[in-house]
């Protein structure tokens, strides 16, 4: 159950990071707005909370000497995923900071770039915050005010990563990936909360069936042709 909890936390962090990336992509474009900045702030804070929770959980587990070897390997794998996720989050936060500085929203002559995006990112933000609808309640100069907070948070994340490196000694390169190349193809057909393992097995089965059916068809076709030719030969001779 500890493993499941860790995995769930990690999945949540992963989701929030992905949404954050989506939102940072739209800064400075046509769909940039105060709402976007607020969404960024909220998502970021949520990501930080999740990161702290993840870290606490994983450090306690990794420091525990009583876990078995396979468990330890599994937790190390989760740790690597977590630290990579955190790296990406930090990079995105830094980029958000720079872009935020360059594209302030309250100046009279806004210079937003015509990227051709028209819709907003509220759906993405809702997904990140796991709510149905986003509520916007911030001041209208959030874009400038938020940047200071953002800087502090970046520092915090940086420190957290440093501490992590120092406290937990997990050599990253020893972890082997569980998923093969191309694994992403197997489980994206159905959207939903079903477990990934089951879906991949199903997909495999269906693929096998299709290939088997095809093979059967081709074989029978060749057989028929052979029979026809034999009959012709017999008839002619």
């Amino acid at each position: 159950m500890v493993k499941e909890e860790c995995k769930a936390l990690l999945d949540a962090l992963n989701k929030v990071t992905a949404c954050y990336r989506h939102m940072v992509l739209t800064i400075g474009g046509t769909s940039d707005s105060q709402n976007l900045r607020e969404e960024l702030k909220k998502t970021r804070q949520k990501a930080q909370e999740l990161a702290v929770a993840n870290r606490n959980k994983l450090t306690t587990v990794l420091k525990d000497k009583t876990v078995s070897k396979e468990d330890k390997a599994e937790f190390e794998r989760l740790w690597v995923i977590f630290s990579t996720c955190l790296e990406i989050l930090e990079i995105d936060m830094r980029r958000a900071l720079e872009l935020g500085h360059e594209f302030p929203l309250n100046v009279p002559k806004k210079h937003l770039i015509q990227t051709g995006m028209s819709g907003g990112t509220s759906g993405v933000a809702a997904r990140a915050m796991s709510v149905q609808n986003m509520k916007y309640e911030a001041d209208h100069n959030i874009d400038v005010v938020d940047l200071k907070d953002l800087e502090n948070e970046i520092n915090q994340v940086g420190e957290m990563m440093y501490e992590m490196e120092m406290k937990v000694n997990v050599p990253q390169w020893t972890v082997e990936a569980k998923q093969d190349p191309g694994a992403e193809l197997k489980s994206t057909i159905s959207v939903g909360a079903s477990s990934i393992g089951m879906i991949s097995v199903e997909e495999n089965k269906s693929f096998c069936d299709i290939s088997k059916v095809l093979a059967g068809i081709i074989f029978t076709a060749v057989l028929i042709i052979a029979i026809v030719l034999a009959v012709c030969v017999v008839k002619l001779s």
């Binding site: 015509q114 990112t121 990936a177 998923q179 959207v191």
Partner: protein, 486 residues
């Protein structure tokens, strides 16, 4: 944000300039429909007006914008040029601008490829597949994260409008086309070697810096200098002397093996061939170094020295060379042997070196290393050069060798390998090689009536090239017309 040097065009692209430049556009267009892509003509016109430059320059600038990924074409994503036929372009989102100098991470690229894999259900381009597999091996430990993140980003993307999703796809694709160029496309972000020092960096002029400068200049003053007229004169003399021996500039007899596939040239010029070529023997007369560096020359010289009873000099020199370039493990033994054979008082082949040198050498031999006999070797070298060399050149040994030396005939080219090769035109006048001319006369065959079939080729020898039946090997190579073949 710093200025960002760009490839070898050295065009500094400061974001501030760019933002200022682009700002105007948006001020004008912020009220109109906000998601129309731009026409290339509009972009071109706007650059022209805004920056007040010539048309050519505006076109070039616009082209650079496209190449670096600030603007991307909608119809032909891989063709990163600014066309003037009104095709549509879109601006790239600031996250993906190269001006930020954020490195395009491998992890990000892996996530992008995985996402593309999901979207296209496994259909990636060849080079993308290769990258995918390579990244899978390279960052295997992150692979689980890559796949997780790719799936999540894909799902998050679904929360947006369809048009936005399409725009986002285009943006990402454009970004990765610039940052991970497919094979065959120009890689504009290639900025050359990673240098340790940044030439544009401002160095702080503190004490350490000045101290280093002073040291550098002091050492520079102490260097020995030669007048450039002297050194250039030496260079010219060397070139003139060796011009006829250079196989590229003056051609080689019998023929250049790289062209005619005929390895005779190498066989005839082997290290210790029985009968060396005439060119080689003549080269020994240029200076002593040539003689002593040529194994055959050394052999001949040794014969001469034996007659003069000073063969041990050359043997000693050869032994020293062996010591210098031989195995490190054998250095000590070899040094001992050499000492016993050549240097010890009463040695069998005692060489005649002066007292100081002998003293230095003996002292050094207590701790032998490769170069312990350097002083003695130099002394002997100078002795041979100043004394024996002169006599050698006048000796019957050398003259006999010279007479025996062979001048190879130019090979007759048997096949028409490269009809487009123009004939290698010769670079020196004929009288220098009467045998060559004779040989050539015999080797002129199967040549249609051309009228320049006489002993000396003139500049008109370029003709055979154009007629396409040039036989490179059979053209004489000793006249001063330039070589057409590259």
């Amino acid at each position: 944000m710093t200025a960002w040097p760009v490839g070898d065009q050295q065009w500094v692209l400061s974001p501030l300039v760019l933002y200022g430049a682009l700002e105007n556009t948006f001020a004008k267009r912020s009220l109109s429909t906000r998601w129309d892509p731009e026409h290339s003509n509009d972009i071109f016109q706007w650059i022209l007006q805004r920056l007040q430059i010539t048309e050519e320059e505006a076109l070039h600038l616009g082209d650079l914008f496209v190449k670096y990924g600030y603007i991307y074409p909608l119809l032909e994503p891989k063709n990163l040029t600014l066309k003037t036929d009104g095709s549509l372009y879109r601006f790239q989102t600031p996250y993906f601008w190269p001006a930020q100098s954020w490195p395009a991470d491998d992890t990000d690229y892996a996530i992008y490829l995985a996402k593309k894999n999901i979207k296209r259900k496994g259909i990636l381009e060849e080079y993308e597949k290769e990258h995918y597999n390579m990244l899978n091996q390279k960052i295997n430990y992150k692979w689980d994260f890559v796949i997780m993140q790719a799936k999540e980003q894909y799902k998050a993307g679904k929360e947006r409008k369809k048009a936005d999703r399409y725009a986002l796809d285009c943006q990402e694709r454009a970004y990765w086309l610039v940052n991970r160029t497919p094979p065959g496309m120009l890689d504009v972000l290639e900025y050359g070697l990673d240098r340790v020092t940044d030439p544009n960096e401002n160095k702080k002029k503190n004490i350490a810096f000045y101290r280093r400068e002073i040291m550098y200049y002091q050492q520079a003053i102490m260097k020995t200098r030669v007048k450039s007229s002297v050194s250039l004169g030496g260079l010219v003399k060397y070139s003139e002397q060796f011009l006829s021996n250079d196989p590229i500039l003056s051609g080689c007899l019998p023929s250049n093996p790289w062209i005619t596939d005929d390895a005779d040239f190498w066989d005839l010029n082997a290290k210790l061939v029985e009968v060396p070529t005439r060119m080689r023997v003549e080269r020994w007369a240029f200076n002593f170094n040539e003689l002593i560096r040529d194994p055959k020359g050394r052999q001949n010289f040794q014969i001469f020295l034996r007659k003069e009873f000073s063969g041990e000099n050359l043997s000693f020199w050869e032994a020293c060379e062996d010591l210098k370039y031989g195995d490190q493990s054998k250095v000590k033994e070899k040094a001992e042997e050499i000492y016993k054979l050549f240097l010890a008082p009463g040695a069998r082949r005692w060489i005649n070196i002066d007292g100081t040198t002998m003293g230095i050498t003996v002292k050094g031999l207590q701790h032998p290393h490769r170069y312990v006999l350097d002083a003695a070797q130099t002394h002997i070298y100078m002795l041979m050069k100043k004394d024996s060399y002169g006599r050698y050149l006048k000796s019957p040994v050398y003259k006999e060798m010279l007479a025996k030396a062979v001048v190879p005939q130019e090979t007759v080219k048997k096949k028409f390998h490269f009809p487009v090769w123009p004939p290698s035109a010769p670079l020196q006048p004929q009288p220098h090689h009467p045998e060559a001319a004779g040989g050539r006369g015999q080797s002129q065959r199967s040549r249609h009536d051309r009228g320049h079939h006489t002993g000396h080729e003139q500049a008109g020898s370029q003709e055979p090239a154009q007629e396409g039946t040039s036989q490179v090997g059979s053209e004489p190579r000793r006249e001063k017309t330039s070589r057409g073949w590259c």
